[in-house]
Assembly symmetry: C2
Homo-oligomer: 147 residues x 2
């Protein structure tokens, strides 16, 4: 589990680096699919991971207001803060938690849901990158090459 | 691990169902990103999963010729055959295999690479689905709703 979260956090950081090369208007531009813009899709994956893992940590459900994070710098700061909050839980994950329950959901399924959710949305960014004529961040988990 | 492969196989089946509603010309149409068409992207995820897991099984590297699988029925048949070949290995996966080596790669990393690879490409299909004015297959792992 932990390794797939680390993969997502690494890929997310590389997408933020990628975004630094793109005019902010393009990051905010309305697109087809996903959360309808590059920046909004990034804020969405941050928010959803944070909300689910907080749930597993026993904290009340909380969501970010996407309209507040309309600059790359703000989204990037949000990502660091949100990941820092859930990282200890992810790092301490053990298979014994697999069948603990949050409402009707097994903890393991919630973890896998959060993992798959981010990878899926990142796939959407890769299409938009190509539409912009840019090479997307690699999705490779092995053979990622030099940063 | 097993549960994420099962998730991918279920999602892939639902994408094949989704494709049944789409004219074959649209499935083959050249698009931006991914493997440049819906059908080719599906054949690619089948091929890559099959190649990596065969590697873990100790079988020689083998790839499908994407140009052969240019109909939905052929791609669907390929998916069933390829998944059937690797399913026993996936079902018998245990954490003791995590650090076995295939060349320089840990078995666990290869498994996670194959999982992330498919989810990423499926995210690309979801953008193309919206471009076609269609609702994509849900990427949810929990709360998938009725089929």
């Amino acid at each position: 589990m932990r390794k797939l979260f680390e993969y997502n956090w690494l890929v997310r950081e590389e997408w933020f680096d990628w975004c630094e090369e793109i005019p902010e208007a393009e990051l905010l531009k309305e697109r087809i699919g996903g959360q309808r813009s590059i920046l909004r899709t990034l804020v969405h994956v941050i928010d959803v991971e944070h909300a689910w893992i907080r749930g597993l940590m026993g904290d009340p459900e909380q969501h970010y207001d996407y309209e507040v994070y309309r600059s790359l710098a703000d989204a990037r700061r949000l990502s660091s803060e949100a990941a820092a909050e859930v990282r200890p839980f992810v790092e301490q994950w053990t298979d014994e938690l697999e069948n603990e329950r949050m409402h009707i959901f097994a903890y393991g399924d919630v973890m896998r849901h959060a993992i798959a959710h981010e990878i899926h949305h990142i796939g959407q960014l890769s299409v938009w990158a190509r539409e912009l004529g840019r090479k997307p961040v690699t999705a490779n988990l092995i053979m990622r090459g030099p940063r």
